[in-house]
Symmetry: C2
């Protein structure tokens, strides 16, 4: 794991203690997407599959971390919060799993950045897949609001 991934994982573990219990780690990040992994065992439910609450939490976190890193790279000091979260649980997850959040298309990004610069506040939708090696278990759409500090 490179230094940047270790640093953002440590940040999450320090500031959002539940992420330690999820076992969440940031395993991959580039300009287009971020991947957060979690082991199955601490996230089991009564049916020995991944708990819906864990899937939601990891997905919410992945979108937040992606935008947090993008805003930091752009030298924005911004407050970033989730406003809405929608998860479709398409199949049970029976293994370690990951949430992969994707940046919106370039045109949407540009529009959000323009709004952020002009109004000091912008809203953006981030899509994520939650999947194991075997299957996609869920889709997440998170609406996040960034406010320049």
């Amino acid at each position: 794991m490179n230094d940047g991934l270790t640093e953002i994982t440590a940040y999450l573990h320090e500031h959002i203690p539940l992420t330690r219990h999820l076992g969440a780690i940031v395993s991959d990040y580039d300009q287009c997407s971020i991947t957060l992994r979690a082991p199955l065992t601490p996230n089991l439910n009564h049916r020995n599959t991944a708990f819906g609450g864990s899937i939601s939490a990891l997905a919410i976190l992945s979108g937040w971390a992606l935008l947090h890193l993008q805003l930091r790279q752009l030298n924005f000091k911004a407050r970033l919060v989730i406003q809405k979260s929608e998860v479709d649980f398409s199949a049970p997850i029976t293994e370690d799993f990951e949430a992969v959040s994707y940046m919106p298309q370039a045109a949407d990004c540009e529009r959000s950045l323009k709004t952020l610069r002009r109004r000091r506040r912008a809203r953006v939708n981030i899509h994520a897949d939650v999947r194991s090696a075997l299957a996609v278990g869920g889709q997440h759409v998170g609406t996040y609001v960034a406010e320049i500090l």
Copy 2:
């Protein structure tokens, strides 16, 4: 806390380990609603308010627990899973908080029960408020699917 509440709390803590880390307890239950409480401290985020993932998880859990108890009282042996979860985060939560899930209106309940008896499978939407003593912090709509075993 009465014996029924202790029992369902223990069930959650045993079978869904993350609920222990959320500090979730079932604090109230009747035919119409259920209340699950969680302390703020283990659920903090980077802004010292309740983490969105914790709010989602507690809300998902509250709807599941309400339906689980209702189905048990009706002597249904059913598999109960969440299919969809939508959370609107309306305000930051800065205190200990609770998720209160409400049974649907009687006519909707009747319809779902008829479907469950006839097709051995039914879908139901459960609304929840997530709130602290100070404010409502979020609204959840969970779509749950029950399948008779």
